[in-house]
């Protein structure tokens, strides 16, 4: 059974509207090496309903495909899953970025489908907060490769300031 790896525990309360005060400020702990990750691992797969059948009343997460457009209705869900048809399909990355930065979605974004350990650091920086790791993939590896780099050049969902605005760079 696939394992659900969550970076910041529970996502009980659904987001309502954009993150007004700090539009780009994430609701989860800021990145800082390993201490960033307050992950939890559960064996239970999240309950999800395909976008076409999902209603705000169903109380379950909504499952999007990587080429879905964002429908404002989905922002009321406490969890949005993005299903990767192949681990190297980058569309899901942009979709998550849009959910976080354009639509201010603050609930859980979970990667499902072909989720590969080596994609986790990209997924995390694009705003994914949970990963449904398939049986054949190694959870140990997934945990150890969550943050292979201590810092990055660009801004991302979890680090909204690019390096050149945050730290003094050498001339």
């Amino acid at each position: 059974m696939p394992k659900l790896l969550s970076l910041n525990g529970e996502f009980e309360s659904p987001a309502t509207g954009p993150l007004a005060a700090g539009r780009h400020r994430p609701p989860w702990p800021a990145e800082n090496g390993d201490s960033m990750v307050r992950q939890g691992v559960t064996a239970a797969a999240p309950e999800l309903v395909d976008a076409g059948n999902w209603t705000p009343e169903c109380g379950k997460g909504v499952r999007l495909t990587v080429d879905d457009e964002v429908d404002e209705r989905f922002l009321a869900a406490n969890r949005i899953a993005i299903e990767f048809p192949a681990f190297n399909d980058g569309r899901g990355l942009s979709l998550a970025v849009l959910l976080r930065t354009r639509h201010g979605y603050a609930g859980d974004i979970v990667a499902t489908g072909d989720v590969h350990e080596d994609m986790l650091h990209y997924l995390r920086r694009c705003g994914f907060t949970s990963f449904l790791v398939p049986d054949e993939r190694s959870l140990d590896t997934a945990l150890s490769t969550l943050a292979p780099y201590s810092d990055y050049y660009q801004a991302s969902v979890i680090e909204p300031q690019p390096a050149f605005r945050r730290i003094g760079r050498g001339a």
Partner: protein
Amino acid sequence: MYRYDSFDQKFIDERVAHYRDQTRRYLAGELSEEQFLQLRLRNGLYIQRLAPMLRVAIPYGTLSSRQLRMLAHIARHYDRGYGHLSTRQNIQFNWPELEEVPDILADLAKVQMHAIQTSGNCIRNVTTDEFAGVAADEEIDARPYCELIRQWSTSHPEFDWLPRKFKIAVTGAPVDRAAINVHDIGIRAYPAPGRRSGTDGEDLFDIKVGGGLGRTPVIGALIREGLPARHLLTYLEAIMRVYNRYGRRDNKYKARIKILVRAMTPEGFKARVDEEWSHLENSASTLTPAEIARMRAHFRPPDYPPREGAAETLAADRLRDPSFDQWVRLNVSAHKQPGYAIVTLSCKPTGVPPGDVDDRQMEAVAGWAEAYGFGEVRISHQQNFVLPDVAADALHDLWRSARALGLGTANRNLATDIICCPGGDYCSLANAKSIPVAEAIQQHLEDQDYLHDLGEIDINISGCMNACGHHHVGHIGILGVDKKGREYYQISLGGHSGDDASLGKIVGPSVSRDEVIAVIQDILDTYLAHRIEDESFLHCVRRLGLEPFKERIYAKAA
């Protein structure tokens, strides 16, 4: 040139460790071939016909003597003593052991080099004018902007898994030596009207998108004019997001951005990008004046000691030695600084695969860059070495040394300065060999007077449709095709990669390897018979059209 600070160094050191772990997991059977393929491609490692091939990044073609010496060491220690300069201003090693690649990357990291994103469906090494920073005709040194793009695109969280590879080129000169018309994104940088770059006012960019070679050659469409420099990264972000979301992923031959731009129309694509950018404009990724100034400072010109009498010495040397004079005429270009010159060291002597250089040559070039310049070397997309700062009165010494090592051939932009991919000798994608064709042409044109009389002719050879040899933009393009298991070659005419870029037109049915030389000769004969005074080959082809060439080539068969 750009020097790493502790941030950059830490990042590539961690990259080495990361890749070492990925290699370990592959060798331990934890990663499948396909999974490891995607990971190693993010680090420049291909599995070729005979062995792995490692492509090392030379960002925008600039490297130091120290870096070049490390490449020589890698060629000696991990390879068979040579490397191949690529058309993306990178260097490729054809014989590394997969298990040793992490060690090679560790050696590269010691001299601030890497192989990040030199292959795979991601943003590749950004390229520019090989004369950037020193060309007499230049308005802006494009390299600070290239470095900003390099840093921004390195392990970008959102844009490292694109539908297909993605190539960006920037030029800051009115004469386009960076082929910006045939890139996924081509950027022309220029100072705001009436202002000088770096002193007052903000540089501006014209942005072209959707150019490219490959199976479907296209000239890029201009989608933005006069974009202020501070918006560079956010505007690129908008383009990349539209491409990442809507570019085709169902067919690798239709996955480049040019296909999307064509499907949406350039106007439709532009509208989509502008809409996306409206959300990103002035966001945190907007460049600060301090960051642009910091990057410019890395590329500040050296203090050029005045060279009293350099021009007179050079003139006397040229008068005394006609062979040297010819080399200067062809391989030496005008420098911003009086008394200095830009030297192209040809890596296209007859009998050597175009762009192949051995470790002794690399060591020597590194030494010359220090002895005659300021320790900086360039790689051109025509697969030659460039020494950017040679004192005019030292040219004769340099030429003699270069000639002794096979780097002094006077053929820049002539018909023997052939752009050529590794082809069927190395590459598993190739339909046909390209290196032997290049060599046959070079041998055929060994009469120097004849070669020089022909003037500038770009001959570009690709071993397959992927067009690594840029055959579409060769004045004469040669494309290897497979005909029932036999190597054939399709010849095109009239391509050009500069400002007035054009794509070559196919002259007729493809020909066998044995027939290529005769066809080239027919083409050259037709040109010489029709040219008016000093008319260039390209101009002549454009004026005449294909007919006279066709008639000549195919008359015999009829």
